[in-house]
Subunit: 220 residues, 2 copies
């Protein structure tokens, strides 16, 4: 294994609770980051924790986030501040024979690090396209170029994938041995995020149909 295949655990990312569910493998971390449509970005503002949900995109070893330059949260987070990026995918409800052993099947990633504001123009444009394509693959190629004003009024943050971990739970409930005799249904209710029919904008020009990356959109 090379250094890039897995992150190195640190004091604060060493998984102590249920370590068997944890992983530092980049393949696992990247898959979760790439499938999730939103992340939760946490930072410290005036000593207090603050979280905002936002869209992201991973490109190589970096997670990009974006928002208006007027966004206080992004401004605060981007001042070289420590941030925590958390991404969670819900795969199912785990219904056990006791309340205690109820759980969820999920895949989650937490990344810790210093966010920086992307100032390089080419990197910024690349990140903005990556964020669109993260949501709908190939979409950015169908769009007009970004205008200078759009680029100038958008802040792009970069969070390096250096310190962090993934956590994955799969499978059925694990009950106390004596509870298997109980007369209660136990198992998993799988959950999936599914698209409905595309709803055309009311001002859509006649004759324009959604492309295959929209009609065939799916996650995972």
């Amino acid at each position: 294994m090379t250094a890039t295949d897995a992150l190195t655990p640190t004091e604060r990312t060493t998984l102590r609770r249920l370590p068997a569910r944890g992983s530092y493998e980049r393949a696992v971390i990247d898959e979760v980051l790439d499938e999730a449509l939103i992340c939760h970005l946490a930072f410290v503002a005036d000593g207090a924790p603050m979280v905002i949900p936002t869209i992201h995109a991973r490109v190589g070893d970096t997670v990009y986030l974006h928002g208006s330059v007027a966004n206080r949260a992004l401004r605060a987070a981007g001042k070289g501040a420590q941030v925590c990026v958390s991404v969670t995918l819900l795969d199912g409800l785990v219904l056990a024979r006791s309340a205690f052993h109820h759980s969820m099947n999920y895949r989650s990633v937490v990344l810790l690090g210093d966010a920086t504001v992307v100032t390089d123009e080419a990197e910024k444009l690349m990140a903005l396209d990556a964020i669109v394509d993260h949501v709908v693959a190939g979409r950015s190629a169908d769009l007009r170029p970004h205008t200078d004003v759009e680029v100038r009024t958008t802040t792009v943050l970069a969070v390096p994938i250096i310190e962090g971990s993934a956590k994955v739970r799969t499978g059925g409930p694990v009950d106390d041995e004596e509870d298997y005799e109980l007369d209660v249904w136990a198992g998993v209710l799988p959950l999936r995020l599914v698209p409905g029919e595309p709803v055309a904008d009311e001002r859509l020009r006649p004759g324009i149909v959604p492309a295959a990356n929209i009609t065939g959109w799916q996650r995972s």
Copy 2:
């Protein structure tokens, strides 16, 4: 309107960005909290922001969270520390005619406050049942009582619903006027979290079928 119908905006919860999307109404906030299956709990650990995804349940004016007493995160968050609870529901992808106006339809809530560890036994038991019933309505009534050991090894945190806000985006894209002439599909791809078929635990005793709250499970 009485004082309990809406939260009072504070300096840090006053919505500056797109305030039209924001709401302090308890009805809006409660609906989002009640529909979401997970929340993201942020707190400050050694000066750095940390986020964990976890299950929650709202009961009246309180959001309850739980976890193992061995959970460092809950322990840290429960020491009267300031926390931020963030809940996000994704309702659709908003595909505009420019990258800049791409968005998502979502409903989100952020709560700020001091978390406290629930020590009252009756409140703790009530909260544990509420968390199960939050995921599958009525499920706790089908389960054996909590054991003393289970209760003792579980930490329940209470976060009061005092300071916070909701943010809701609905509807189609809002494009720049000149972009409506472009030859690109625009509209909304609705998203929904849907259950699959229940998967029985492999050690389920013969003859036990899932109840209607499982076979008919749905969110929103």
